[in-house]
């Protein structure tokens, strides 16, 4: 076996993957259930090996603005937190999107609103895909459903962020962050040199050479005509991302008469529900959005021609269900099932909800 298989928590996988994908800097602040990200980085001490900086900032607001500064110089930088902490970061996230800076934000969601609870939740879906901060912007949002994907999506998120000069977010939750599974970590990739950054990020503020104009990193533009142009450019970029980067997984969908739609930990629990329901003779499939934005609307619309009804299963009061309904556009019935405030449903609760709500 060329790659060593390890057993670790999702949060630990994020930290190890960050070091291995050539991340230049991590800025964070502890909060349950994601504290192991920062803890693992502090334990591994990557500044002694790859030179990656790891800093516990004085607050979440400071951390996201350190990310803004690092990203402005073309560095691969990231932060992580859990729901209340991610709310604090939203101003910085909007600025990153406005200034078109690549960066990675990780949200290991817990129950809210407010300080809420430390138990798992998926109630930050709206915050992630509909804004969160102010202005017309989008984050590339990846929803891992396993510890392996926690590791794999760090590199993917950075690649997409740099490809499109846009912040990316990994939207996980307490289940995926805290559980341990097998994982094969990505191979080590060296951090980019200053020369490579200048070449790959011609927009980066790395000091002005004589042969080009000053690079300015800002989201401010007081001339509304220019600001509108900038917004139109952003919207065009978002259309390109929507055309190219939709990711999803289909599980037992070919002959499905009913469709569950679920992401992250919910998709795992739904997969068990599908297994059990299939054993009872119910033809049900699962569609798992991997990118929450761009949302896999087209494939869901396609299944609207095949299935009798859909159930959006989310650990919230009904958020993604709105996007499923938009995709389906009234063709079939779409209902929602959720648990709130940190309670996680079991597979049998999902089957019961399926039977009462859509069958």
């Amino acid at each position: 076996m060329s790659e060593e298989i390890k057993l670790m928590k999702g949060n630990e996988a994020i930290a190890h993957a960050a070091i291995r994908c050539g991340c230049d800097g991590y800025f964070g602040y502890p909060i349950t259930p994601q504290s192991e990200v920062l803890e693992t980085l502090m334990e591994v001490e990557p500044w002694k090996t790859t030179g990656m900086n790891v800093l516990q900032a004085e607050s979440e607001v400071a951390a996201i603005n350190m990310v803004y500064g690092g990203a402005g110089t073309g560095k691969k930088v990231m932060t992580s937190s859990s729901s209340p902490g991610v709310s604090l970061k939203q101003e910085g996230v909007s600025y990153l999107a406005g200034a078109e800076l690549p960066a990675l934000i990780v949200n290991v969601m817990r129950g809210g609103p407010g300080l809420g609870t430390i138990q798992p939740s998926q109630a930050d879906y709206f915050q992630t895909v509909k804004g969160g901060g102010h202005g017309d912007y989008k984050l590339i949002a990846l929803a891992p459903a396993s510890v392996q994907e926690m590791a794999d999506f760090v590199g993917l998120a950075f690649d997409l962020a740099f490809k499109y000069r846009n912040p990316a977010i990994i939207l996980a939750d307490g289940v995926i962050g805290q559980m341990m599974e097998k994982v094969v970590l990505p191979p080590f990739k060296a951090r980019r040199t200053d020369e490579e950054i200048v070449k790959e990020c011609p927009w980066a503020a790395v000091g002005k050479p004589k042969n080009r104009e000053r690079n300015v990193i800002t989201s401010l533009e007081l001339d509304p005509a220019v600001m509108e142009e900038r917004n139109i450019h952003l919207q065009e970029k978002y259309k390109t991302i929507e055309a190219n980067e939709v990711r999803y997984e289909e599980i037992q969908c070919e002959d499905a008469e009913y469709l569950l739609v679920a992401f992250g930990s919910s998709a795992r629990i739904c997969q068990k529900a599908v297994e059990v329901a299939r054993a009872q003779g119910i033809k049900v499939g699962l569609l798992r959005p991997i990118t929450l934005w761009p949302f896999p609307s087209k494939i869901i619309a396609k299944y609207a021609d095949q299935v009798k009804a859909m159930l959006s299963v989310e650990l919230n009061a009904g958020q993604m269900v709105e996007d499923v309904r938009l995709a389906v556009n009234g063709k079939v019935k779409v209902e929602h099932f959720g648990r709130l405030g940190g309670i996680v449903y079991t597979p049998d609760e999902i089957i019961e909800a399926m039977k009462t709500k859509i069958m």
Partner: protein, 178 residues
């Protein structure tokens, strides 16, 4: 083959670490594994539980409503999890913390006096390894050799000298379960 296990007791009894060693043992045996703790206020005192799944196939849900095997180390956990064992499944419990015996007739019930034994052995910290030994006698889902490999992976190197003691405890557990 898939084995879905819940281990439940008080925080500090080694519930989570027993689960972790079991999961690592499964990994050493080439199985798919998940380890899902209740990480809430439980971890900070009170009851603690962890779901461990070992399988030859890809594991779907890390969170379950019924289990093949339950390892129960206090009364609260027995009250909560006895009813979640699949018919024909296995319940292993230490009577030390139990005031009301399990009542189900459609499952296989085993007692293991691990707390008393660990005190007799003058090794109270190996309590959870005695339990794990008992489990492996009844449900030989992983080989002892792989458990020892798992221990090596789980314990920090400075504690590796404790592995022989843990092996003794595992074997003791295999002897005393009934």
């Amino acid at each position: 083959m898939t084995e879905e296990i819940i281990i439940a007791g008080f925080g500090g009894q080694g519930v989570l670490s027993m689960g972790k060693i079991l999961a690592y043992s499964g990994l050493m045996q080439g199985k798919e594994v998940t380890w899902m703790p209740a990480y809430g206020p439980e971890q900070r005192g009170g009851t603690a539980n962890v779901t461990v799944i070992l399988s030859d196939d890809r594991i779907s849900s890390p969170i379950l409503n019924e289990f093949d095997t339950a390892i129960i180390l206090n009364q609260q956990s027995l009250d909560k999890f006895e009813k979640t064992i699949k018919p024909g499944g296995t319940l292993i419990y230490d009577p030390y913390g139990i005031t009301k015996e399990p009542t189900r007739k459609d499952i296989n019930v085993y007692r293991i006096n691990a707390m008393d034994t660990s005190i007799e052995m003058n090794a109270p910290k190996s309590f959870n390894m005695i339990i794990l030994g008992g489990l492996l006698k009844i449900r030989p889902i992983v080989e002892l050799e792989n458990v020892l490999k798992g221990l090596k992976k789980t314990l920090p190197e400075r504690h590796h000298h404790l592995i022989p003691m843990n092996e003794v405890a595992l074997k003791k557990g295999m002897e005393i379960i009934g």
